[in-house]
């Protein structure tokens, strides 16, 4: 199925949907959709019998910093009934990037969206479990963003300050030296 036939089917299923074709060099048709229409289009893609994209193979995001719109969220879908693949993309602005969740349409999206939030910092509205997935819970920043440094050189921070003052420390060392004789 090529992108044009697919777009015609989608526009029947979701009247007024804004779907534009994009260039693709692999075997998957590629379309751009607007972020507000993602839940409706996702449902149509899964439930329309002529499309039947029941398998969400991948959900990821690409950061095109410093370009605007900065992010592209990519959904790779497979229709097992028709043996076709589709790449659906959504452009998102850099400021306050957020998007509606599709985990109610494809349960597989749950952890994939958590991973995108964790590593890219794109929030998914209505997500049932919006926590980090791979990084520690108290991590600051989103490592896969292009403006996130590859190596951070920071002095390690102690959880508690030392309980002895510099003078006491020196006195202790001096006393040890004397007693050791």
């Amino acid at each position: 199925m090529d992108a044009d036939a697919l777009i015609a089917l989608l526009q029947q299923a979701v009247p007024g949907a804004h779907v534009e074709p994009a260039a693709s060099i692999d075997l998957q048709a590629t379309v751009f959709v607007s972020s507000a229409e993602v839940p409706a289009i996702a449902r149509a893609l899964r439930d329309t019998p002529d499309l039947a994209f029941g398998l969400l193979a991948e959900l990821t995001a690409v950061d095109y910093w410093p370009r605007e719109p900065r992010y592209e969220v990519v959904y790779l879908l497979v229709s097992l009934a028709h043996r076709t693949r589709l790449r659906m993309k959504v452009r998102l602005a850099g400021e306050d990037a957020h998007l509606a969740t599709v985990s109610d349409v494809w349960p597989a999206a749950n952890w994939l969206e958590r991973e995108v939030w964790d590593l890219m910092g794109i929030a998914f509205d209505g997500h049932p479990d919006p926590r980090r997935l791979l990084m520690p819970e108290d991590w600051e920043g989103h490592p896969l963003r292009k403006d996130y440094p590859v190596q951070i050189r920071m002095t390690p921070q102690a959880a508690e300050p030392l309980q002895v003052t510099a003078e006491e420390f020196r006195a202790n060392v001096e006393r040890d030296r004397l007693t050791r004789g």
């Binding site: 060099i25 998957q28 029941g54 398998l55 990519v74 790779l76 693949r85 590593l119 791979l134 490592p143």
Partner: protein, 393 residues
């Protein structure tokens, strides 16, 4: 008699539990021996390979992606090479294509052997592990012969292979293929009709066909539940459409079904290996002839100025890949995987994203173990064959 006090007990399983195949942590809520809820925690093995890959040149990414799913190393590097080659718009020689198929299928047998051995051991059949690792050793020896490296050979290169097949490789592979089916029968004698194994495996960890698709499960887990999705049949690559093989499926969706599917898959892989081995000529091209992408042979580097310059350019600057986005799915041992790569037209990838079948299998784990017994949790974790390196990347 006073009423016995009952309460829900929370058990923390892992991250250092021997049956979690790495570092998977499960927080289980138990009522007696019944699992009421399960919350997997992952990320202990996250090493940021995708971020690291963005700093490397294209050909330097290959050793990195081999270390993601460490049981299907060559399948990973093949998927990565296929995606980059699609962006570069190059066609690899037919001989290279068949060598890649051969290596990928041997890798599938290798990975399934590790799975069968560890899974057998976890459900109490320790001898299966010893036998499986004996045969796996021969496959690792083949890798060593091929590339001098047993686990992560980095033999696949963008544009072909690193070097030609070593002398005697055909004979060595054929010897393995001749001996292996009898060994496989031995493993089946140990497990397939073993009452103890049947009781541990049948009806345990069931997932329905609908749930398998909805949770994005692919590969043997989905095929055991009746989904006949195999990338080699649905979206053929590397000439798989010209090879004769079947896709084994079962409809039970339980641990035993996954066992049957994987054992049958090893037999199909042997069939594929035999066919492609006949198609690989003893000598011929092992990479494309493009001086920008593949380095010249070492003897020319030592004797010709142009070859030295070409060698130097490839290993210092690398090569550029046209801007664009590509994802070529392949059927790895754990199901569809592949690399979603984005290039901005420079000599380093802009984004490399691995589709990790183990991640989705881990996500669906809770669905398979809730309502079952705690003893079955181990059998189910083993049966979904998660590699934590692939889950956490």
């Amino acid at each position: 008699m006073p009423e016995l006090k009952t309460e829900v007990m929370t058990v923390n399983m892992g991250p250092q539990h021997p049956s979690t195949h790495g570092v998977l942590r499960l927080v289980l809520e138990l009522d007696g021996e019944t699992v009421l809820s399960a919350a997997p925690t992952i990320g202990y093995l996250h090493t940021g390979i995708e971020k690291t890959a963005e700093q490397k040149k294209w050909q330097q990414v290959i050793p990195l992606v081999e270390r993601m799913d460490y049981l299907s190393a060559q399948s990973n590097s093949m998927a990565f090479c296929l995606s980059v080659e699609r962006l570069l718009g190059i066609e690899i020689p037919e001989r290279v294509q068949w060598i890649r198929v051969l290596i990928a299928e041997l890798q599938r047998i290798n990975s399934h052997l590790v799975w069968l051995g560890t899974h057998g051991m976890e459900v109490g059949a320790v001898s299966v592990m010893l036998y499986c690792f004996r045969e796996r050793e021969q496959l690792l020896n083949l890798n060593e012969m091929l590339a001098g490296f047993r686990m992560f050979p980095s033999y696949m290169r963008i544009g072909g292979l690193r070097e030609d097949l070593p002398r005697g490789f055909h004979a060595a592979v054929r010897a393995f293929l001749d001996a292996f089916p009898a060994k496989l029968d031995d493993y089946e004698d140990l497990l397939t009709k073993n009452t103890i194994y049947l009781q541990r495996a049948q009806g345990v960890g069931v997932i329905s066909k609908e749930d398998a698709v909805a949770y994005g499960l692919v590969g043997p887990i989905a095929r055991a539940a009746g989904v006949d999705y195999d990338v080699r049949k649905y979206f053929p690559y590397l000439g798989y459409d010209t090879l004769q093989f079947d896709v084994p499926t079962r409809s039970t969706g339980d641990v035993y079904g996954r066992y049957q599917v994987r054992v049958a898959e090893m037999r199909e892989s042997i069939k594929i290996c035999r066919q492609v081995l006949d198609r690989i000529e003893p000598t011929g091209p092992y990479a494309i002839k493009d001086p920008r992408i593949t380095p010249p042979p070492k003897d020319r580097v030592y004797t010709e100025m142009e070859a030295l310059i070409q060698h130097f350019l490839i290993y210092s600057q690398g090569f550029t890949v046209p801007a664009g986005e590509a994802y070529v799915p392949v059927e790895g041992p754990r199901g569809e995987h592949g690399f979603s790569i984005v290039s901005d037209g420079t000599n380093r990838p802009w984004r490399v994203k691995s589709r990790a079948p183990s991640l989705l299998a881990c996500q669906a784990l809770a669905r398979m173990i809730v309502g079952g017994l705690i003893a079955d949790v181990i059998a189910v974790i083993g049966s979904i064959d998660v590699v934590m390196g692939d889950v956490d990347r």
